[in-house]
Subunit: 196 residues, 2 copies
């Protein structure tokens, strides 16, 4: 009975995410969203609810993708110290390839919306939790393999790595140059070396 939905939902989500990512929540209008996705107003409201609902879908889409990429990295790159370096190096390449200087959608959203929107704040808190745990798990693994000293607890080092990671996303937005970004990583990762 129902007429089929004609568009590819994931493709729409990808395009909407790209726009929100580039312009932020408040500066993005439904009009721009229709142009970016190719959908009419009605279709967006029908399929995704209003602007806020659509944004939440996009934000989750983004963070899931980000977290998935990092988990995949762990599958390929076994030695933990190399893996951590690879994760940060990957972030640098992403920043340098980002022609629109979008930065990180989660960081952008955090600074723009966390103190004004509880639903968004919840996603931000969850992502922080996940990232800290991911890094902490890697650290624990590296400590067990005696590649990382055990002077500091995995959770503490994980938090530090996540903080450095967020910082890079901000830094790259005003200065997307390889040298300073890699300088920062060099110093940050030196805390994992020796001293055991």
């Amino acid at each position: 009975m129902p007429k089929e939905i004609l568009f590819d939902e994931e493709e729409v989500l990808r395009r909407a995410t790209e726009l929100f990512w580039t312009r932020g929540y408040n500066a993005t209008s439904m009009d721009e969203l229709t142009r970016a996705t190719g959908l009419s107003r009605s279709s967006i409201y029908n399929s995704f609810g209003g602007k806020h609902d659509l944004f939440m879908r996009c934000l989750r889409y983004y963070v899931n993708d980000q977290e998935r990429q990092l988990h995949e990295l762990a599958g390929k790159m076994k030695p933990v110290d190399q893996r951590i370096r690879a994760a940060f190096q990957f972030a640098v390449e992403e920043i340098l390839a980002d022609r629109m200087r979008k930065g990180c959608m989660m960081v952008n959203t955090t600074t723009e919306m966390v103190n004004q929107d509880k639903a968004i704040a919840a996603v931000a808190a969850e992502n922080m939790e996940n990232m800290e745990k991911l890094f902490a798990d890697w650290i624990r693994e590296g400590q067990a393999a005696r590649d990382i000293h055990t002077t500091l607890a995995p959770q503490v080092l994980g938090r530090f790595l996540f903080n450095t990671y967020s910082g890079l996303k901000v830094y790259g937005k005003t200065r997307p140059d390889r040298k300073p970004l890699e300088d920062i990583i060099t110093v940050a990762l030196s805390v994992l070396e020796g001293r055991a």
Copy 2:
């Protein structure tokens, strides 16, 4: 001949800054600005130009104040290692005292506007330059006093400190708790220790 301006310009700037800081550029309306400052629309346009001009004044007001506070700290706290720790500790106290979870206006503005507004991007770049230089100068001073190892160049360590600093402002926005913030600082400042 001229009727006097009845308001205190700095007080107006302070209140407008507080509002932009809390809500960001796009989410702040001229209507809210009139309520926050007590001025009428005409007075704002007369004395400060439009919304964008006023925002630039506020942003400069904010960054000048921030940079001034750090420079003042250097005057009081002579030993460099203690001074750096004090600067980061001060940031933590600021985050914990920030009931509105405003975070850092410069970081917020960077992530919201840098890829959409050249004038703002210029201020962000200038502030980054100043902060890196400030930290680098402190590092150089500490190295000369043999309080900090000389394995890494002042500029490199300065960049790292600035990155950690920015990261904390983001972190504190979603999780304004003392423990994790101080964990991060502990790890970050450990890169300045020994090893010479």
